[in-house]
């Protein structure tokens, strides 16, 4: 009697088998969707990182090309304004060398003769070298989690970002060799 009572009670509270199956299927699909979402996000980030990387490579190549072009244009400018070229133009304009005794000299109060040209570039923004891509874009999900959870959990997100610190380089100094 007691046994029968216990069996009935268990049957009364037991989940229907189809319901249990649905639960298991649901859990399985949930895990599947979760994995798919993580994989999708991971793929998307990887794709974006790759595209950004390619763009950076392209910009680096462009910088090199522009630097070469700047040198080339400076040289071209020097060629068209060379002493020989200017001398020919002066001759074509019937210009002649000044006779020092025919020159008229005047006093110009406060006139400062041109000083030695400064060839050094103006003080520039100094960039501190930092990784181009953040760890978030290059590390695997596991590595990133390990970094965040175990290794540097207290590290604020800003500190890993690419930082450009503006610091003016010292003004050109004159030294005696």
């Amino acid at each position: 009697m007691e046994k029968a009572m216990k069996k009935n009670l268990l049957q009364a509270y037991k989940q229907a088998p189809w319901r249990t199956q649905l639960q298991w299927i649901g859990i399985f699909l949930l895990v599947l969707v979760g994995v798919a979402v993580v994989a999708g996000v991971y793929l998307m980030i990887s794709g974006r990182a790759a595209a950004t990387g390619r763009r950076i490579q392209s910009l680096e190549a462009e910088i090199s090309a522009l630097e070469m072009e700047i040198s080339d244009l400076k040289t071209q400018y020097a060629e068209v304004s060379s002493a020989k070229s200017l001398s020919e133009r002066a001759d074509a304009l019937n210009m002649t060398m000044l006779d020092p005794l025919e020159a008229t000299y005047i006093e110009v109060p406060g006139y400062v003769p041109p000083s030695q040209p400064v060839l050094a570039p103006p003080p520039a923004v100094e960039e501190i070298s930092t990784p181009v891509l953040l760890p978030e874009f290059t590390a695997s999900l596991w590595d990133w989690l390990r970094l965040r959870v175990f290794i540097e959990p207290s590290l604020p997100a800003e500190s890993t970002e690419s930082v450009t610190t503006e610091s003016v380089t010292p003004a050109p100094t004159e030294v005696v060799p």
Binding site: P17, Q21, W24, A49, A50, A51, T52, G53, Q57, I63, E67, M68, E69, S71, D72, K74, T75, Q76, Y77, A78, S81, S82, A83, K84, S87, M97, L98, D99, P100, L101, A103, T104, Y105, I106, E107, V108, P109, G110, Y111, P113, Q116, P117, V118, L119, A120, P121, S129, P131, V132, L133, F137, T138, T169, P170, P172, T173, E174, V175, V176, P177
Partner: protein, 598 residues
């Protein structure tokens, strides 16, 4: 039924798990087999490459900041054999635009890469931008060409070009003796030869750096900074250098001289204002070097050629005599026309005697006998001690590649004889370079202080400019001696009514005619003619040294080199904005500066 469903579900789960597990195990196994490690190792080669980046060679500027040596873009055109689709088209275009042999290019394009054949063939390493523009135009034309059904669109796949820097000298041969040249045809191992390019080769070249360049965008790191070579600013002004070269060329043509050198020097700082020599090489075509400078012709005779200077050297002997107190300007000497020293007899240039003359007269008439007597009065110890103080026993140390000097014969040497003291006193039996003479005589124009001659005014290293300050390398004579001698040389030029004079300017100077030693003795049919002069006398801003070798129109320095000095200084004072004495000495004190109005 219920049990059957559970069993089915259980079986599906087990099968799926087994399949997934097996796949996982297989994945792990594949990643750890020997072949996988090899593939992994090979893959690293595709992630990035280590390459050496050669920094851009530093530029060279004149004192006004005008470019003398820079870099221009040049292209390397080659064939990527794996990418070629149409060998005939590529060969046809490449050969016609680059001026190459069609059959040879076609042979390259039809090669199968690998198995001993290269993957890449360089067709031409130095292609101009114009030709690259032609190639790009053809490539674009092919890409836009409409084709009919079955027709193949032509393409230049596999024909590639990359930009590189090439050394360029926009002024051509101007100041090439100072600049030297860089062997740019050797792209990786090029070096600087002669002049600034040699003396500052390491600094100009910069530091090549081996960097890792990631191809895998996920491994990208920040762009490696490879600083360019040091930028150098020289002491000379381009216009003055051009004018000096023109004057030298005109003098060579007029006098028929074999070679010539003119050095314009700032005695106060040691800066070279101009340095012209012959011949001059266009460093853009440096491969003509051996043709233009057959051995042993030096590249820059102003610093590398030694010669017996003749009477310009009397300035040094007189400086020693005055500074040591052996003579004063008023000391007289009875010139009989000859003097015997060590068994040899010394004569004057005209073989005659000039009677009683003072020391200014000795310089004015350039009397060998008088100066030989002065040398004897000084004695070998004092005389050669002064020559050493003036730096005639060593290189000047000018910052140009290729400087040399002739060893100074000294008492005690096997080659020195007593007569050498007498002949050395008037500039024979002693060999010097023009730059040695300039440096030594510069001390007389600079209150006794001898300055280190140099051509580099400033350097830009890592974005900072470092100016080179003047360096005193010695004080061979006192300021008083320097003033006295300058006054004597001003007077001697004016008394002589020298053709070196420039109206309106007080100038000190001395002519020189040096006989040339031959295996059969000295010849007086061919001479080295020289002139040294500086001014304005009260505050020298320039010192000019002229050497014309074996002129044909006259053997005398007073007739060949002196007029060249006058002609050059007439233009030099304009370019250096030095007003005549009457204007300059009347200048009011204060913050006023004289400028040329017209």
């Amino acid at each position: 039924m219920k049990t059957t469903n559970w069993n089915r579900f259980f079986i599906i789960c087990v099968v799926c798990s087994v399949v997934a597990g097996a796949a996982g195990i297989q994945l792990i196994r594949i990643q750890n087999i020997e072949g996988a490690k090899q593939i992994l190792a090979n893959s690293e080669a595709y992630q990035g490459i280590n390459r050496v980046i050669y920094p851009e060679r530093g530029s060279i500027y004149d004192a006004e900041g005008r470019l003398l040596a820079g870099n221009e873009v040049i292209y390397e055109v080659g064939l990527d054999l794996q990418a070629i689709e149409q060998p005939e088209t590529v060969a046809s275009v490449a050969s016609s635009v680059l001026g190459l042999d069609y059959a040879r290019v076609l042979g390259y394009t039809q090669m199968t890469p690998g198995n001993g054949n290269p993957y890449f063939v360089v067709l031409d390493g130095f292609v101009s931008k114009d030709k690259i523009a032609q190639l790009e135009s053809i490539k674009e034309d092919y890409a836009n060409r409409s084709t009919k059904r079955g027709e193949v669109r032509p393409n230049l796949l596999g024909l590639v070009w990359t930009a590189n820097n090439k050394r360029s000298y926009p002024e051509g041969a101007l100041a090439s003796n100072i600049l030297g040249f860089y062997s740019f045809l050797d792209r990786t191992d090029g070096i600087g030869y002669f002049g600034v390019e040699e003396a500052y080769d390491d600094l100009l070249a910069g530091e090549p750096k081996e960097v890792y360049s990631a191809i895998d965008p996920n491994l990208l790191t920040s762009l490696e900074e490879v600083p360019p070579g040091v930028t150098v600013q020289l002491t000379f002004n381009r216009e003055i250098q051009a004018m000096t070269e023109t004057k030298l060329d005109e003098a060579m043509e007029w006098s028929g001289a074999e070679n010539g050198s003119i050095v314009v020097y700032d005695p106060e700082t040691g800066e070279i204002i101009a340095m012209a020599t012959t011949p001059r090489l266009d460093p853009n075509e440096y491969w003509n070097y051996s043709e233009l400078f057959p051995n042993p012709k030096p590249y820059n005779s102003a610093i590398s050629s030694t010669y017996e200077p003749g009477s310009v050297f009397k300035v040094i002997t007189m400086a020693a005599g005055l500074d040591s107190g052996v003579v004063t300007p008023e000391t007289t000497f009875n010139d009989t026309g000859s003097i015997s020293v060590g068994g040899a007899t010394i004569y004057n240039w005209n073989m005659g005697g000039w009677g009683e003359v003072d020391m200014t007269g000795c310089l004015q008439h350039s009397l060998n006998v008088c100066l030989a007597w002065l040398g004897m009065q000084l004695g070998p110890d004092r005389f050669y001690s002064y020559l050493k103080s003036f730096g005639f026993d060593r290189n000047t140390g000018i910052d140009l590649g290729g400087e040399s000097h002739w060893p100074l014969k000294l008492p005690g040497d096997g080659l020195w004889y007593e007569v050498d003291l007498a002949t050395n006193s008037f500039g024979q039996g002693i060999s010097v370079t023009p730059i040695q003479m300039v440096t030594a005589i510069g001390a007389i124009a600079n209150e006794g202080k001898m300055m280190a001659p140099h051509v580099v005014k400033a350097m830009v290293i890592d974005g900072k400019q470092y100016n080179i300050d003047p360096v005193v390398v010695g004080t061979p004579i006192s300021a008083e001696t320097a003033h006295t001698l300058t006054t004597m040389l001003v007077n001697s030029l004016e008394n002589e009514a020298s053709s070196a004079l420039v109206e309106g300017y007080s100038l000190a100077g001395k002519t020189g005619t040096g006989e040339i030693a031959t295996p059969l003795g000295y010849t007086n049919t061919a001479t080295n003619t020289s002139f040294v002069g500086w001014g304005p006398a009260e505050d020298p801003k320039f010192l000019v040294y002229i050497w014309l070798e074996k002129p044909e129109i006259s053997i005398w320095g007073s007739e060949v080199a002196a007029p060249v000095f006058s002609d050059l200084v007439s233009d030099l004072v304009v370019l250096m904005t030095i007003p005549p004495d009457n204007v300059r000495l009347a200048e009011k004190p204060g913050n006023n500066s004289l400028v040329i109005l017209e």
